[in-house]
């Protein structure tokens, strides 16, 4: 009994430093955001007071919130499958017997190493009307200049392209590692049966990559709601919030308009959203995944 107690204490002591940091910088802010979302924003001499669900009512009636949320969902729905598909395609390519695949692997991975700010700057140049790479190429075929980042119909999609370009290489590394863990004689067994490449992918490779996909998916979802660097650098959410994402909106509300209580409310919504996605992934998808 005595030793079991001391083992417990010992264990807790070992966990303490990490736990303190987690509580101080993750859990406490979460709780305080939750609490603040029921308060008013303190202004000058007026301290914050309890306002119940008032902030949430504001949120429901806030058209910008809905627009930004829609943007963000659209952003996730496009970028996540696109970057995963691209990552798998690249991983399959550089995993094959290919001359210069070492170089290719590096090339595909490079965008991941670059900071998002740098990436955004590179793409700013590509998107520049008239002088930019894209318009120059379009010019060759007689296309006129397009203000890619400056018009509502294209701004958000430009951000998506940049995100996919940046994330795919990162995800590729995980897929590459997973592919190399697959027993090559599985493919040989399939080839003896005369399975087509598509059948092999659908029935062997894809299911065996499922644990990786789950992991990548979680990262991708978090990334879709967390990445704002490119928004800041490239569009500042404009024009008319057409390319604003949830986190960028929270940043604007909290640190540009200093409406901290409303920012807290938005934060709570974001957290609930992410939590829901995580629960879905860990329960439903996890059950359908084969772990080796």
């Amino acid at each position: 009994m005595q030793t079991r107690y001391s083992a417990h204490i010992y264990g807790w002591l070992l966990l303490l430093p990490a736990a303190v940091l987690l509580v101080a910088f993750t859990h406490a802010p979460m709780v305080s955001a939750f609490v603040d979302s029921f308060m008013s924003t303190p202004k000058g001499a007026r301290p914050a007071r309890f306002v119940g669900l008032m902030q949430y009512e504001t949120l429901i009636e806030d058209p910008i919130f809905w627009r930004v949320l829609g943007n963000n969902i659209l952003f996730a729905v496009w970028t996540i499958p696109a970057s995963i598909a691209l990552a798998i395609a690249m991983a399959l390519l550089v995993n094959g017997k290919l001359k210069g695949r070492g170089f290719l692997r590096m090339a595909y991975f490079t965008p991941t190493v670059l900071p998002m700010i740098a990436v955004a700057n590179i793409w700013m140049f590509f998107f520049t009307p008239d002088y930019g790479l894209i318009d120059q190429i379009r010019g060759l075929f007689g296309g006129g200049p397009v203000n890619w980042l400056g018009q509502q119909s294209t701004a958000l999609y430009c951000l998506m392209v940049v995100t996919v370009w940046k994330e795919a290489g990162f995800f590729m590394i995980f897929y590459l590692a997973a592919l190399q863990g697959i027993n090559p004689s599985l493919y040989e067994a399939a080839s003896l049966e005369g399975a087509s490449r598509w059948t092999v992918f659908r029935r062997i490779t894809w299911p065996l990559l499922m644990p990786t996909t789950l992991f990548v998916l979680i990262n991708a979802v978090i990334g879709a709601f967390r990445l704002v660097d490119h928004v800041v650098v490239m569009t500042k959410g404009g024009p008319d919030n057409a390319s604003s994402l949830l986190l960028f909106y929270i940043y604007e509300i909290g640190f540009k308009y200093w409406d901290t209580a409303y920012a807290s409310t938005l934060t709570v919504v974001l957290l609930v959203l992410l939590a829901a996605v995580a629960v879905f992934q860990f329960t439903y998808l996890d059950k359908r995944t084969h772990y080796q």
């Binding site: 027993n183 040989e188 399939a190 080839s191 005369g194 399975a195 029935r203 062997i204 299911p207 084969h290």
Partner: protein, 359 residues
């Protein structure tokens, strides 16, 4: 199907070679496997057994030579068009599919109808006694069960040729013996031609109709197990078959004929002995402690194995192992007399290693 020669030789290799740079994994192999026979590819590690099997399967491309299966030249055909099934050394079961799906994989790929599929699955499951395992994943099976599933996947294809690469190497001794018998019985029942790779001579001797002993990518001897044991073509074969393998005693010229090096008594009259090696199996040798007949020797050591005792004796400069029935533990240094049964002596050329007739 054509009658005549083609139907008799299910697999025919002519001058098959596989080189990787300067490595000659398989180097000009000729081999014929008769319809419905079990051919074992035997040899030490790295002699090219797996490579040869993979060449037959089409998983590797030949550097040279031709391969015929069922009378058809398949040298350039992809694996799927060679009409064969294969059991891999590590079984290569799909870890994410249950046993049923593993076994049915090939039939589904080939779009075999559901009714036909079910019928064949039922038969295979019965044959291998794995009916109760169909819903499990490979990870939930024991080694022996996985082996059966791999076998099932090969059998259900109903191909005329089945290739196996050391399918029993992961199993314990008891299970191995059981599976050996099962595979052999199954092969006979289904009438398939089987090429079976192993480096275990007991497996080869007990299962094969025909053993092809390989060494450094070449065929050392291609014969029935009995022939391989009774008339090894080379010193290498002699040293590979038998536990313990055949004694190889270097000969020299003696005063009355060829003698074992360092022991002047003639073992073969009227001939020189230099450059020859005498081969005698331990089980063909007789050892006497008190009688005066035979070659003089001294006991080096003896090991008791239950049914018999292996006694190591020094004769001249050479060492011979003798299998004695029962418990014959003799203290080292005991003087003994050695002899062997009529017709048990084999002669080999020391230089080339090839068999010589005993006159």
């Amino acid at each position: 199907m054509r009658l005549g020669e083609a139907s008799l030789s299910a697999i025919e290799l002519r001058g098959v070679a596989k080189h990787w740079g300067t490595t000659r994994a398989v180097d000009g192999i000729n081999l014929t496997a008769r319809q419905g026979s079990l051919v074992v590819l035997l040899g030490p590690s790295g002699c090219g057994k797996s490579t040869l099997l993979r060449l037959i399967a089409g998983l590797e491309e030949v550097t040279d030579g031709s391969i015929r299966i069922g009378g058809e030249d398949v040298t350039k055909l992809p694996p799927a068009r060679r009409h064969l099934a294969m059991v891999f050394q590590n079984y290569a079961l799909f870890p994410h599919l249950d046993v049923r799906e593993n076994i049915l994989f090939g039939l589904k790929v080939r779009k075999v109808g559901a009714a036909d599929r079910d019928r064949r699955l039922k038969r295979v499951a019965e044959l291998l006694a794995i009916g109760h395992l169909l819903d499990r994943k490979p990870g939930q099976l024991s080694g022996g069960q996985q082996q059966r599933v791999a076998l099932g996947r090969a059998i259900i294809a109903e191909q005329p040729v089945c290739l196996m690469d050391e399918p029993l190497s992961n199993l314990d001794a008891q299970l191995r013996q059981d599976m050996r018998r099962e595979i052999r019985a199954l092969q006979r029942e289904l009438g398939v031609t089987m090429i079976y790779v192993t480096h275990d001579q007991t497996e080869a001797m007990s299962m094969a109709d025909q053993v092809v002993l390989l060494r450094d990518g070449r065929v050392e001897q291609d014969a029935t197990p009995a022939e391989l044991y009774a008339r090894p073509a080379t010193l290498f074969v002699a040293s590979f078959i038998g536990t313990p393998p055949m004694n190889r005693l270097a000969l020299a010229d003696g005063p009355h004929g060829a003698c074992i090096k360092g022991a002047p008594e003639a073992v073969i009259g009227d001939s020189g002995g230099t450059g020859l090696v005498l081969g005698v199996r331990p089980e063909d040798m007789v050892l006497a402690v008190d009688s005066g007949d035979g070659l003089a020797g001294t006991v080096d050591s003896s090991e008791y194995f239950g049914a018999d005792t292996i006694v190591a004796c020094r004769v001249g400069t050479e060492t011979a192992l003798i299998r004695c029935p029962g418990n014959r533990l003799l203290p080292p240094g005991t003087p003994v007399r050695l002899g062997w049964n009529e017709g048990a002596a084999h002669l080999f050329d020391a230089g080339t290693g090839r068999r010589r007739s005993v006159d």
